[in-house]
Symmetry: C2
Subunit: 254 residues, 2 copies
């Protein structure tokens, strides 16, 4: 038996009243979920909380202790409701104030008459923070411990993440194979459960769909062992045929 | 001073590996956020967890104790990974088994030769559950205490919610007014923060945008007192003009 690569986990914390009021739909969690999976990092939990100091501190503390990495989005802009950075300093019990490296970035970007107190507030960071560069609008995010603090605007968040992704340590990459069929979940659910019991290290998911007037189900096998996945794909095709359906095996992902 | 209507709060718990793996983008939280706001119910938190019994129990326990209502989506279908109903029975410490009302619904819908064990599993509910009807695909959701358990498929979840919405008790409805301007957040952030300090009962949010080649900001005032919101809208327009911008006051919502 070969050495198992470590399991690396993550959580996403979305911070912003506008998500909870229904004004804005969060798109960051879905994008991060895809990118983390590609990197071999397992997203285990996501949360959305308001721009509220106590809520942010509680969530950051709980999630950063529980998972390898925590990625936050939102609340690091120039206005009074942008309180994420200060709350994270409190969560870690460290000081908070103007960071010389962040000040230099903002001073390079804004002419003296554009350096409003609101803008310069974006240079205030927790003590010990490492900058996460922002190629879009300059005001940086930061890393403190295992917490990566990024902007909420999706284009900026993505650019920030792409800048740090190379430094993240991934674990065993989770591979995925999909077999679809024009049968309902209720028809194949029994044999599917029996197959899951035979392969405890493969995660079998079942997702119903309706397209072009046809109901069907996509069966998704996920795991780190390509040989086991290949075996499971064969069993999935067989159980679909046994139930009277025609399996469609999707091309190998990635 | 008139009697204040109560503050009614809620959380949403999305259950499903497919959201965390990036396979599927959750659309239910955003839809529920909008509907709850319309009903005068304040969504305070949202979480996504995996199809994992311990995770579901922990999240249901924490969120149902903390908020007036908890709405869950996902994990009540016919396959082995649909474990939400059993986990919620455990979270409440009640029995779990076939429910005669749910059995009748499924027996009316499926002919005897279609009644697979997987399908009939959808009639297993926690003791004491009240059914939430499913006009789309029949298998019901349920309410147990202050927890409303709904399907993950958006069309089914929406139909289930629309069936229960009339029975939810809302609180003071949160109204919203928006004033937009072609100025950056950094320019108006200072006076906006001062205005927030003057109106602690109004929640002022600031949301940058970029459209048709123009950068700008939407300032959103939210609160339960229409007269206070009207005053704040006047102040927002004035502070935008003072900063050299032209305010656009959106029509009153709702």
């Amino acid at each position: 038996m070969t050495d198992q690569p470590p399991i690396v986990t993550a959580a996403v914390l979305v911070i912003g009243n506008e998500i909870l009021s229904g004004r804005t739909q969060d798109a960051n969690t879905h994008w991060l979920a895809g990118r983390l999976t590609e990197l071999g990092i397992r997203l285990r939990e996501a949360r959305v909380v308001a721009d509220d100091e106590a809520e942010i501190i509680a969530a950051v503390t709980a999630l950063s202790q529980r998972y390898t990495y925590l990625f936050t989005t939102g609340g690091i802009g120039p206005t009074h409701d942008d309180i994420t950075s200060a709350a994270i300093a409190k969560a870690f019990g460290v000081g908070f104030g103007p960071d010389p490296r962040a000040l230099r970035i903002l001073e390079d970007h804004y002419a003296p008459d554009q350096r409003t107190p609101a803008r310069m507030k974006m240079a205030e960071l927790p003590e010990g923070a490492e900058l996460i560069l922002n190629p879009v609008s300059k005001a940086p995010g930061f890393r403190l411990g295992n917490v990566f603090v990024m902007a909420g605007v999706p284009s900026i968040m993505r650019a920030m993440f792409d800048g740090i992704a190379g430094g993240l340590v991934g674990g065993a990459k989770v591979l995925s194979r999909t077999v679809s069929c024009p049968l309902g979940e209720g028809v194949i659910g029994g044999p599917l459960g029996a197959l899951q019991a035979r392969y405890p290290n493969v995660d079998l998911g079942s997702y119903p769909w309706f397209r072009h007037g046809v109901y069907g189900t996509s069966l998704v096998a996920r795991g780190t062992d390509p040989a086991a996945l290949e075996e499971v794909v064969g069993h999935l095709a067989a159980l679909i045929e046994a139930a009277g359906g025609q399996p469609t095996i999707d091309p190998v992902d990635g």
